[in-house]
């Protein structure tokens, strides 16, 4: 049985609200989603929260979803929306969040021995949300342009232009920091 067949079976299980399907989905895609959320939010608690909310939304929304192309892309799309929501909420508490991000960046800097990783990790939160989403999905998850477009609900042309803008901006930030 191929991975695609497994995904279809899993998705049908979610549609029928089978607890086993949810358990399997959490076990299969939980690690991928938590890492994506971590890259996006740079906050362990918020990332964990976003992933849990993603599975709850998948549980609720599977029945309404038609024409699923990839379960991973679908879940990543939901996760992206949840992360955006977290960031919006955080913007209301901008000062506190800013302080938190600085602390977080300081903490994470000490985690990496490679200075290039430190540089990228501090540059990533400075990218605008839509650009960050594209970077994570395209370069970390290695989704195709088509899959990224489906996950984010945007046209393929927009994915390409955002990818280009994100790379340019990221290089600018990293060169400025260098």
């Amino acid at each position: 049985m191929t991975s695609k067949d497994n995904d279809v079976r899993l998705f049908e299980g979610l549609r029928r609200r089978e607890p086993e399907a949810l358990t399997t989905a959490v076990q299969t895609y939980g690690p991928v989603l938590i890492r994506a959320a971590w890259l996006y939010l740079a906050d362990a608690h918020a990332a964990e929260d976003a992933v849990q909310e993603t599975f709850l939304a998948a549980w609720d929304g599977a029945k309404r979803t038609r024409g699923l192309t990839s379960l991973r892309a679908w879940l990543l799309g939901i996760l992206t929306n949840r992360c955006r929501k977290h960031i919006r909420t955080a913007q209301r508490r901008r000062k506190r969040e800013q302080r938190f991000l600085e602390q977080n960046a300081a903490l994470s800097k000490s985690n990496f021995s490679d200075p290039r990783l430190e540089k990228l990790q501090s540059a990533l939160p400075r990218l605008d949300g839509p650009l960050r989403e594209v970077v994570i999905l395209r370069y970390w998850q290695k989704l195709s342009v088509q899959e990224t477009a489906a996950a984010l609900g945007i046209p393929e042309g927009t994915v390409k232009s955002r990818t280009h803008a994100a790379i340019t901006r990221l290089r600018d930030i990293m060169e400025t920091n260098a």
Partner: protein, 152 residues
Amino acid sequence: MNVDQNQFEQYLSDSLDAISQSAPAAPRAEQIFRRLRRRKIRRVGGVVTVLVLLACGLSTLVFHRISQPVPTETIVVQAPIRIEAARNARAQPARPWRIPAMKLTALSSPSLKVQDGLTADIPVSSITAGTQGASPNIPTRFVTPRVSLPKL
């Protein structure tokens, strides 16, 4: 950082992978199920609260209406007065009535504040004839006659 686009993209891909390794542990399925249960309880609690509040509000409203009698007001109008039964009234007959004088016991309504000489729809609970004329043969309940008030 003088690297070409492809090298940078490769570096980005590798670095993101390395950074993502430091992510916290993925949530367990039990945590999701616990959240589902909590959410269900919250929803049921919310519905019950809304229903209880609605019931309280409605009962208060009904009790208030029952305990307060409907205010009435008596208007005495002088002759001549012209009354046309409302279209939906079961008035027999439907032609206009001319009555020398009559007393209207009307339900309290903003439309009672009409000026002299104007026509107004007045919800009437009972109509009794005045001293100078015969009792008009119109229904005495749930009729909304159109009354032309003469200038006093």
